[in-house]
Each structure stands twice: as structure tokens, then as C-alpha cells.
Subunit: 210 residues, 4 copies
Amino acid sequence: MSIKRPVKSSVPAETAGRRGRPRSSAARARVLHAARALVEAQGPAAVTIEAVAARAGVSKPTIYRTWPNAPAVVMAALMESAGTPEANTHRGSALAALRRQLREIAATFASRTGRSVTQMIASADADTELSKAFRHHFILARREEGRRMLAAAVANGELRREVDLDVTLDLLYGPIFFRILVGHAPADERFCDRLLDQLVKGVAAPKAKR
Amino acid sequence: MSIKRPVKSSVPAETAGRRGRPRSSAARARVLHAARALVEAQGPAAVTIEAVAARAGVSKPTIYRTWPNAPAVVMAALMESAGTPEANTHRGSALAALRRQLREIAATFASRTGRSVTQMIASADADTELSKAFRHHFILARREEGRRMLAAAVANGELRREVDLDVTLDLLYGPIFFRILVGHAPADERFCDRLLDQLVKGVAAPKAKR
Amino acid sequence: MSIKRPVKSSVPAETAGRRGRPRSSAARARVLHAARALVEAQGPAAVTIEAVAARAGVSKPTIYRTWPNAPAVVMAALMESAGTPEANTHRGSALAALRRQLREIAATFASRTGRSVTQMIASADADTELSKAFRHHFILARREEGRRMLAAAVANGELRREVDLDVTLDLLYGPIFFRILVGHAPADERFCDRLLDQLVKGVAAPKAKR
Amino acid sequence: MSIKRPVKSSVPAETAGRRGRPRSSAARARVLHAARALVEAQGPAAVTIEAVAARAGVSKPTIYRTWPNAPAVVMAALMESAGTPEANTHRGSALAALRRQLREIAATFASRTGRSVTQMIASADADTELSKAFRHHFILARREEGRRMLAAAVANGELRREVDLDVTLDLLYGPIFFRILVGHAPADERFCDRLLDQLVKGVAAPKAKR
DNA sequence: CGGTAAACGAGACGGTACGTCGTGTCTTTGA
DNA sequence: TCAAAGACACGACGTACCGTCTCGTTTACCG
């Protein structure tokens, strides 16, 4: 009988010489993997420290040593799972690139996990460092990318010079998250396209002075 | 075992043929008042059934008899506290009325309680009757009012006929909620104004035909 | 405060001068029947007022109008179900009659319901009128019948005159209930016979003067 | 869900190879002390887990970790409080020792706590390990001690050889518990004495053949 | 024979306790 | 040294019954 004790870490490699620490990074990975699995399967509310610890084969204090509470674990898991979106290659006009980005965002956030990200942002403490990093990772980083595209479009002559970029950016991303959050209508490609077109063109009647 | 429970509805509905002792409206009012006080003071997460029961001087089963869980109580409390916003009096142009509504919404949702409403919408079950009512009460009702104003503006000649109203509505309200949710910039009057102006005018450079 | 409630009695007592609607004897019967069914099926602990009311198709206040609490209902049900044991016909000697009674008692109390009776007696309040009636109905009435038989046996010359009847009675019935209560050995016919024989004969060695 | 729980035993069993933080013997002692105080003051029905937890300054889960329900706590408390009765020193005859034991039992069980023990035995589940241990601790252990005394008395020549010891034992202890349970007469020293004397001597009239 | 008083069903009420779960902290033991 | 196992105090969960209280409806009796 092979008394093979169940290997606790998928990377047993360097367990040899050290007494304590080499498990640490393996434990971290297992925790995040477990958290990700839970949030994908049952949403962020199901990610309790106990459930994560059980699923990861890790003790609760080990988790608390790294993260202060359950939402922090969820955020870390979501951030690690979602690799940074590839930089949008500028083929065609700046506005075309923006259109591609909008579609990508809508597709990403319409998923189960995307909903979870939105929920985490809504319910997060807003002040902690991690919350800020989370918001930046999922939202503001793309918004900055968008800002660069808008600036390119201005430079292009596609957009007016005096446009307020901050307002325009929120006019682009706000409606998508609004639909995802409220759910009254789908945030699909068609919506992204119309959104962008209508924003570019404006809604005023032609002769309207204002 | 497993006796079929009567359908719970927070609205007594048919008070007509009811047998038995009627529900105490005083108890209901005390529960909602307590829940409102808690959510205002400490946010929606602090609204536990135990806390509400203690504060309202009501037993837990009395609360569970009417609402299925804590979020439902919070929603009911928030909905009852926020009376329906007054119908926007149409003085001046339809767009001016819309501007006033945007400002009112931004002011409302920038408050402590407004944040709570946003959080509840983000984390709600999305499928229950109460969640739908909640979203309608706080968001979609105003959106429908907005639709009427936009239609008036089209009739006015202020807006183009072929504008997609659904998209335009989300372009109006989405950015406000986006700022409130993400918190990267204030959703104040100035923002509302610029938002509306830029949407009306479009961002395209003058000669750009499309 | 301290309003004197009308004395509740399970027996309608003076049906004479009563105003109003008389108590429904059908309801009473249904309650007792339901309680009996429950105690037989699941023991006395399962007889909750709610369960009885549901099973009997009767409202809780109707039960509380007649009995003060659940144990009282159980006692009433058990007392009504167990009709008074038939008077022991004196065929043969007084001791033979006693033997028959012991066997009958053992058989009765070894049943599911008999266990329940024992449990009720053990856990009852000891002071209430109903508890006393219950103990009398199930135990002391038979003990008095036993006393009559013992007296007859003394008169017969079967027993010594100076025997302490009270002690002898408890020597007869105590062991049976002891076995039923503790359950370390069966209280069957053989046991009843040996019990009686040994008590009659004594256990002392023949020459032992004391 | 439904994770296999480790077997609960009120006795830590193998303290040897246990991982994790060991159970707090201080907590255990405080729980049992609180339970004992409650049962002495208000009887076994007053021993709720909540009351014990509050009085002991211990959390409910800590209690449930060790005992499955309130009666189990009561039994453990009663068993621990009542140290094993001192072995009856055989001064004088075996029957004299037996008389002393009977008196001691009667005195013990006539107390408030003794009544509680009787009630616990009557209402216990009868099948659980703890119930058996409880009955053994309070009743059957003394019965076995009694058996040894009876055997000594037989060896002495005080009792007849052919006496059925099991029946005799129940003839000794049964009546005492019967009186305590039913309460129709006191189980005092005088009763114990008469009980023993009459059992030894028998009740038959001298010439009675049977 | 028409009031009226009481019992009826239904069921909500304020309570108490249940037994479970998750939190975040703490002690052990083992590697 | 530190990680696992797991006990700990705390506190909320949602449920079951308790015994009491309205309700609207029936059903006798008594004037």
C-alpha cells in the first residue's frame, strides 16, 4: 500500500530544506482559486472565510494573516483572475477603437463574474486601499485608456477640442454599467454602438440653437 | 411537515375576506421606522432583523410574517420613506424640466440614504417581485418620467425625431449613477448640466458628417 | 391588573345559568382524540397545543378555554382514553385476585401509552388538582383496590393481622413501576408472580429469628 | 453541506493525538456548574442552553460542541455533582448495611435534586448512551451494590439460598422510588425500615401453606 | 322572536428558546 | 517558525411553540 499522504500543495518542489514558509505562496494561490470558484458558482455573498478555508484546505488564520476580511479575498481573487485587458490596438480611427473597447467592457461585465464585480464595487467600503485598487483595476484603468482614445480622437479632428473629457468618459461607461446594474435592458453590442453614435452626433434637432 | 405557507406580501392586498386577527399596522409602521433609522445611521448592512426587532419593540416572528428577510425590510423601508418625487412641473422647455430632474436625482442619490439605495439595487436578487418594485420605484419610474419629457422635447422640436429614446435615457441617468457608484468624481449640478448639454450637442467636430 | 379569571374546569359543571353559546362537546372530543393520537404516536413531548389544534381542526383559544396548558390536555386525553379498569371479580382467594391485578397493571404500563403515563406522573407539577386526579386515576385508585384485597386477605387468614398495609401496597406496586421506569428488566407476568410470592413468603432464612 | 461531524462525546476520550486547540476544561466546568445551579434552583425544565450559556459566560456553540442538547447537559451536571456514594462499610450484618443504604437512597432522592434525577430518568430517551450511563450512575450502581449485600446475607445465612436476587432488589428499591415519584406518602427512614423488615419476614400468616 | 353573550375558526401579537452558521481571535501540536 | 486544526466568545440567522389578543361568524339563551 502506498501510504501516499495527500500532497497539500500543487508545488511541493521546494518544501525540502525550509521549516516554515515555503507553503505560503501555494496557500495563497489555493485561497484565491477557491474564492474565485465560489464567487463564480454562487456569487460574492457565498464567499465566506470558512467556505474558502475548507475548499482551499487552508486554515482560517492563514487567510486572515493576508487579508482582513472576506470582501478583500473576493476582490483579490477577482483581480487576479481577470488579467489586465489587452491594450487596444489602434487600427482604424480612435472612435473605432473606442467602440471596440465599449463592446469588450459590456461583454465582460454582462457575465456572472462581471455582475459580481459590480456588486463588490457597490457594496465596498469605498475608502480602503484595496477598494480603490479594485475600482481602478476594473473600471478606472479602462476609463484612462478611454481618455487616451478620446484625446487621440480630438487630435484626429474626429471630436471637438472643447469637449469635457471627464464628462464624455462617464457618458460612455455610465450607461453600460447602468444597464448591467439595473437590468432593465441588455448591454449588448448594439447598445454600445448606438450609445457611441448618439453621443457623438448629439440629439439636438439641426436648427436648434442650443 | 412542510406545510404550505400562505404567500407573503408586504402589501395586505385583499383586506376583504381575511379571517383571523388582522395585522397590526402599528407594528408594521414601527418596523419600517426602525429599519429606516438603522439604514440611515449605519448603512444597509447594519439592518439585521434582530436589530430592527429590538429597536421597533417588535418580535422577530412578527417581522418574518411580513417580510422574508432583512433586505426586503430595508427595501420596504426605503420605498416607504421616499415618497414619490413630485411630478416635474413643466415650466419652460422640456429640456429645462429634464435638467431639473437630473439635478434632483443627483442630489437625492448623493446622500447617505441614496448610496444605500444604490447598494441595495446592486446586491438585490434581481428576480423577486420586491426587487423589481424597488428598482422601479427608485429608478425606472424616473426614467419613464424622463421618457415623457424627451417625447415632449421631440414634439417641441428641441430634439431630433429619429433619436432612440431608450439609449438617450440611459445616457442621461447612467453617468450619474456611475459617478455615485464608483465615486471617482462628484455627481453635482455642474456635472448634470454638462452631461445634458454635451449629450444634446454631441461631441463630434462640426464638419464631421458622421 | 390581576383580573380574576373565571375558574376553568374541564367539566362544564353548571350548564344551568350560563349565558351565551355553550361549549362545543364535539370540539372537546376532537381535541382529546387528537391529543391521544399524538401521545400514542410520538410520546407526550410531541403533544404541543399547536399540533393538537391543527390535528383537531380547532383553534388554540378553544383549547386554552378548557385546559391551562399542554400537559393538562395530555392528562385529560389519557384519562379519558383509559376507561376505569374493571372491578376485579373475586373468584378464588384474595391473593389470587391481587395477582391478577398486578399482571393487569404490568401489562397496561408496559405499553407505549403506559410509558407516557409514567412520564407524565414523573414530570407533572405534583400540586395541581389535575395532577392529583391523574395520579389517582392511574395509580392510587388501583392501590385502594389493592388495599381492599389485602384487607380481605387478612380477614381470610391469608395474611398476618399486624402487617402494615401501606408498606405492603408499595412493596407490590413500586417494583413494577420501578422496572418500567428504569427499564433494566421486564415487568412481565413472571415478574409479577415472583414478586408477590416472595413478598408473601419473605426472604429470611427459616431459622433466622430476625 | 452536511459535513460529517466528528462524533461528540462528553468525555474527551483520546486527548493524545488531537490537533488543534484543546477544549477548555474551564469552560466545561463553568457550564456544568451553571447547569447544576439552575437545576437545583428551578428544576430540570429551567435548564435551557441559553440560560446555561449566559450563566456560565460561555457561548452556545461551545455547549453544543460537547453535548447534543439540554437534557444531556443536565445529566452530565447531575452526574458530576453527585460523586459516587461512598462504599458502604460492612460493619455489622449485611442486612444492616442494606438498611443504611436504603436510608441513604431515600434521603438522597427526596431532595430537590433527587426529584430532578427521577424526572430526568422518566423523561429520558432511554436509548442513548448518556441515558444509560445516567441510569447506571444513579440507580443501577446502587442496585449492584445491593446485590453484593444480598449475596453476603445469603452467605451469612441471613437469607434463604433460593431467593431470586433480581426480584428482591426491585422489591427493595422500587417502593422507595414509587413513593418519591407518586408522592402519596413520604419515603423516610421509618418507611425504609418497615419496608426491609416486612420484606425479610414476609407477610404471610404463620400457618399459611402458601 | 329578536338581542345579546359567549364560544367558535383563524391567525397575528410579544416572547423565549431552539440549533446552526459565520466572524475574527486564540491556543495547541506538528513539521 | 509558522501553518493546520480547531476551540473560543460573539451575535445573527430563521423556526417552533408559547399563551394572549383581536377579528368576524355562529349558536344558543333569555327577556
